[in-house]
Symmetry: C2
Subunit: 220 residues, 2 copies
């Protein structure tokens, strides 16, 4: 039988998967809002951010409480401190979906994305949603090998980011400086969203193996 | 006489002030690199980031260790968990100084900033350095009232950010889409740098008073 401590750890894991799912849904909607100029969907993403923040706070509070009550050492402490980093990364990924939704809202009823650049922006949205879906499974299964393999997504999104900038520089620019600025921000938000999810995956790998897949900060 | 626990808390505070000082110096140099196209200074900022990351990890490790060993409750737990947020904010502020330095390096031997926009970018750099200096004092003195007053700096930097975007839209644009993109990013980096320092100040206020000066996430 599982003791109360491990039951609480299991509950934390379930809630982290739920948080990741919300952050994925937010990105899916934010991409749609951006491409289609859909104000209602943009508002959903923006309004949903309070729940994401609240879930992060709730999970953090429970983790700190476990550290203080259980005085865990070694691998148990590692799981908990890495958990703090995972929920911080998830929340910050969610913030970037919100930034995209706010771009869409600010431009409404126009859309942010000029026709020639729609395909690359759509690919960025699909990549971001795919990365979030993969992270959900990694969180649910604590699969270290799969978590480590998520490192490749840094390259996926960097390549799309560079492709967008290149297309912007190669497109005869009749869309104004404001559109150039918005697209630069949009591209950055997709990229940072992916960065945070890859960072979260790195912390899952660390929870399981105690090893870093890349040079990043560690808590414990 | 102070016990070992409070001596460790004092040592943590000293190290947080030191971390804030490094993050201020990084911004001062990054602004100079950006405005003057100074490659050597840009490289200093970029190379210095490892030290900042290492200091964050060191402080975090000591805080988690104190939570596990001392099982603090109430205000002691609040001080420690808020400390985790403060060092995370400081490190992320430092990352934005590095982003600015990398922009400068990428454009070298050209400079990022067209002549008409130099004044507003210079003001952003000065504001950012000033905010960091104020945070150092807030950290050193644990002055809650002064920490709360740092909220105003969100407006300071937002106003400069909007001023830059407005000037970009009003300037007949002969500087290319690439310069528009770089300036959009630079402005965002200054703004995010300030955001993180204001967030750190908010956590100092919370350490002392247990109250939030604005709606933000809390750990404990």
């Amino acid at each position: 039988m599982r003791d109360a401590y491990h039951e609480e750890l299991d509950a934390l894991r379930v809630d982290m998967v739920d948080l990741a799912r919300r952050v994925r849904t937010a990105m899916s909607r934010a991409s749609r809002a951006l491409l289609e100029g859909d104000l209602a969907v943009a508002e959903e993403v923006i309004d949903g951010d309070d729940d994401v923040d609240q879930m992060r706070r709730d999970i953090e509070r429970r983790i700190v409480d476990l550290i203080a009550r259980q005085q865990p050492v070694a691998s148990d402490l590692r799981v908990l401190t890495a958990g703090l980093r995972i929920v911080a990364d998830l929340e910050r990924a969610g913030d970037h979906a919100v930034h995209l939704a706010k771009l869409a809202r600010r431009r409404y009823p126009m859309t942010v994305v000029p026709e020639p650049l729609r395909p690359v922006i759509a690919r960025m949205g699909e990549a971001a949603v795919g990365i979030a879906g993969e992270l959900e499974e990694v969180l649910a299964t604590a699969d270290a090998a799969r978590a480590a393999s998520m490192e490749r997504h840094d390259d996926t999104m960097d390549a799309l980011h560079r492709a967008l900038l290149r297309e912007m520089l190669e497109t005869p620019w009749s869309y104004g400086v404001d559109t150039a600025i918005d697209l630069a921000y949009a591209s950055r938000y997709f990229e940072r969203y992916a960065d945070h999810l890859v960072s979260a995956a790195r912390h899952v790998n660390y929870q399981v193996t105690g090893q870093w897949t890349a040079e990043v900060g560690d808590l414990a």
